[in-house]
């Protein structure tokens, strides 16, 4: 019998970000998507050098500037002020996306609407035709990075699973996701489908399976 979500202590957004950050090795080049994935940068400790990429043309993105001390000429892809680390480089958008498409990034961590058991990702459109669609760099990152991890809640606010057999929302990239970090679990995508790596504290295998619309395999 699985617990209701209110009974289990799910990861907060910050804890999800910290959990993903713990798996990023020293020396990786990483692009963090807009929203929750951006929080990951705050959780990579000083013990490791990880180089963050911003698709508007920065390698070596540093932490947020102190209030009132920002350089108005330095922003990230989310149009927020950021700093540059010693060793940072600036490039044009063409070179920035050549880095992405050329397979030079070790990792992109993106937000998601749905991830399928074959690694398909849907994260750019809900199919709502009222609003003009917008894609930004999501499809390029999805197709180009060596690995794509997704950071998202395990279900929608109304409890619908976001980990599914096949995506219902329009696809961003095919067969690209290798790991999903949710508020209740860490899931790896393998040739046999979703494989449970770890549960949030107090969460059981059954809790995760009950909230996933595809088979979850034990390791």
């Amino acid at each position: 019998m699985s617990n209701t979500l209110s009974q289990i202590k799910a990861f907060s957004r910050d804890e999800m970000a910290a959990r993903a950050a713990a798996d990023i090795p020293e020396g990786w080049f990483v692009n963090l998507g807009i929203g929750a994935p951006t929080l990951i940068a705050d959780h990579v400790g000083a013990d490791r050098e990880v180089i963050f990429h911003a698709e508007n043309g920065i390698l070596g993105v540093g932490p947020k500037p102190e209030t009132g001390k920002h350089d108005p000429w330095v922003i990230n892809a989310g149009k927020q002020y950021v700093t540059l680390l010693n060793g940072a480089s600036i490039m044009s958008s063409a070179e920035s996306f050549a880095i992405i498409r050329g397979g030079h990034l070790d990792l992109a961590v993106l937000g998601g609407y749905e991830v399928a058991e074959n690694g398909d990702l849907a994260n750019w459109s809900t199919g709502d035709n009222e609003q003009a669609p917008a894609v930004g760099g999501a499809m390029d990152l999805g197709a180009g990075a060596k690995q794509v991890w997704v950071l998202m809640d395990h279900t929608t606010k109304s409890g619908q699973p976001r980990l599914v057999e096949r995506c219902n929302y329009p696809l961003t990239a095919l067969g690209t996701v290798t790991r999903v970090y949710t508020n209740i679990a860490v899931i790896e995508i393998t040739p046999r489908g979703f494989e449970l790596v770890e549960c949030a504290p107090g969460v059981t295998f059954e809790d995760v399976q009950a909230r996933t619309a595809a088979k979850v395999h034990r390791r």
Partner: protein, 226 residues
Amino acid sequence: MIDKFVPDIESALEGLNDGASIMLGGFGQVGQPTALVDALVDKGVKNLTIIANNAGAAFGGMTRLLEAGAIGKVVCSYPRSTDNTMFQSLYAAGKIQLELTPQGTLVERMRAAGAGIPAFFTPTAAGTQLGQGKETREINGRLCVLEEALYADFALLEAWNADRWGNLTYRLSGRNFNPVMAAAAKITVVQCQNKVELGRIHPDDVITPGIYVDRVIHIPSGDPVL
């Protein structure tokens, strides 16, 4: 003597007429040719095709162009903004066309145009809605879509330093699309923050060689603001 500096903004935009396709540099509020876009509004040209990363926000002046009804079509990757809904209103009313392109494909289509490559295959968007209707080919086991080069009649750009040959540098995040667009347009017009003597930009430091630049106007507009 070569001197690409023009005396006023009217000369900078000479020959830009109704129906022109125009690339606008900038990402977010940084590297936007704001003065040139404002002049475009004042000029009163219509039925423009605008090629840029975004489709109007609090920055860059493009919202004024939308409000003036000057734009017939936008080619961009991200026409959404939390601080301005002008594009959204026109789109919902069917008053503006949108060609949505993934950001990396958008900039590579420009790069291809400037480099004389009519089209290229890319895995980005293959198998998605944005790849629909495009020629596909499986290359080395990977599904790819054919994307065509993207040209423009004009590119309106912002640079940091410029000399009279049109050599350019940019400032930090202000580089973005600017150097790519410089090569992709028939006429490239640059507003620069600093006018410098020929030779002051070290050859190693030139980001856009002057061969791509047609006109430069000195507009020391200062730091970008939100």
